[in-house]
């Protein structure tokens, strides 16, 4: 499903539960949405790098089981942005579902 524009919010939401690495972020978003939000994982990293550039998340590499993983974490600025964007997205999806329910 195309969810252009909301990937950033989903990433921020995922990171609000604690630091996470790219692969697991992708898997968790897919699992939580029961496979509906099935995006190409190559587009996750431009979004992550973009969020990092805006200062909404920060990253650091960590060695784990012989693998180097980059963990992303939400910054204070990111927490504020998440509250704002989550509210906007909920309002938006609420409005859409109201219209679609009426059309049934």
């Amino acid at each position: 499903m195309n969810f252009k524009g909301s990937l950033a919010t989903l990433i921020l939401q995922n990171l609000s539960r604690g630091p996470n690495h790219g692969y697991r972020i992708a898997q968790e978003i897919k699992t939580q949405s029961k496979g509906v939000l099935d995006f190409k994982e190559g587009t996750l990293y431009p979004a992550l790098h973009g969020l990092e550039g805006k200062g909404l998340i920060s990253s650091a590499t960590r060695e784990e089981n012989g693998r180097t993983r980059r963990y992303y974490r939400l910054t204070e600025k990111g927490k504020k942005a998440l509250v704002r964007e989550r509210e906007e997205l909920l309002q938006f999806s609420g409005a859409i579902s109201l219209i679609l329910r009426e059309a049934r």
Binding site: G42, T43, Y45, P46, H49, G50, K54, T68
Partner: protein
């Protein structure tokens, strides 16, 4: 074989080549590390699900999606090679304090010459007098700011400022060229084309200045040591 045939990645290296084409060295390095690590995790995940190695690799590559779409998005999130080179050039010239000072003097001399050979009385459009005065004021501001920046031992913390000054300088010269259009004895087209090109450069540098604020890591190394910056040719004059 058609030259318009879509280039598809057959393996991870090819995918990364396409996705990072034309990006700055530090951006490439970062993306290669991130995607390679992700790919390894995905392959391991598929192997855990009892897939054979080749199927696991194909699956992991397919999950990454179209490399060209990723490339377009990476170009928005990172500095391109061209943008990187432009910033490097500006920093390099700023470090050569003597030559930089000469360039500033050259800008001012050009400005003075342009205004003296095109006296205000000859301008056909009266509004262009204001444009020229604004341009002169801007070039003076740019020159002074650049001098202050170049006097510092290292201009590294100020690439955004230097790029902004370059944007203003292009805008100024574009404005000066535009005033040339209203001169009776000169051709309009060369002045118009030059000013348009300069306005284009001004916009490019302004965009680059905004982008630099978001892609700090492409420019300065993780430890703030400027890993990928171009080393100075000569020691900075004290």
């Amino acid at each position: 074989m058609s030259i318009f045939r879509k280039r598809r990645a057959q393996n991870l290296d090819e995918w990364l080549e396409i996705a990072t084409e034309g990006l700055a060295p530090a951006a490439k390095e970062r993306i290669w590390a991130d995607i390679a690590s992700h790919y390894d995790e995905a392959v391991a995940g598929h192997l855990d699900n009892a897939l054979p190695m080749s199927a696991a690799q194909t699956g992991a590559l397919a999950e990454l999606g179209d490399a060209k779409i990723a490339a377009r998005r990476f170009r928005r999130a990172h500095l391109t090679k061209y943008e990187f080179q432009q910033v490097a050039k500006l920093l390099k010239s700023a470090r050569r304090y003597g030559r930089y000072g000469l360039a500033q003097a050259g800008d001012l001399a050009f400005c003075w010459f342009f205004c003296s050979v095109n006296p205000a009385a000859e301008l056909l459009v009266p509004g262009f007098h204001i444009l020229r005065n604004v341009a002169i004021a801007l070039i003076i501001v740019c020159s002074i700011t650049d001098f202050v920046l170049a006097r510092r031992k290292s201009a590294d913390p100020f690439p955004r400022m230097l790029v902004l000054m370059q944007s203003l300088r292009c805008l100024t010269f574009g404005m000066l060229m535009l005033t040339g259009i209203s001169l009776q004895e000169l051709h309009v087209m060369p002045f118009l084309m030059t000013s348009l090109v300069l306005f284009g450069y001004s916009l490019f540098y302004f965009g680059l200045r905004n982008k630099l604020g978001k892609v700090a890591e492409d420019w300065v190394g993780e430890a703030g040591q400027g890993r990928h910056e171009i080393p100075p040719d000569k020691p900075v004059a004290s």
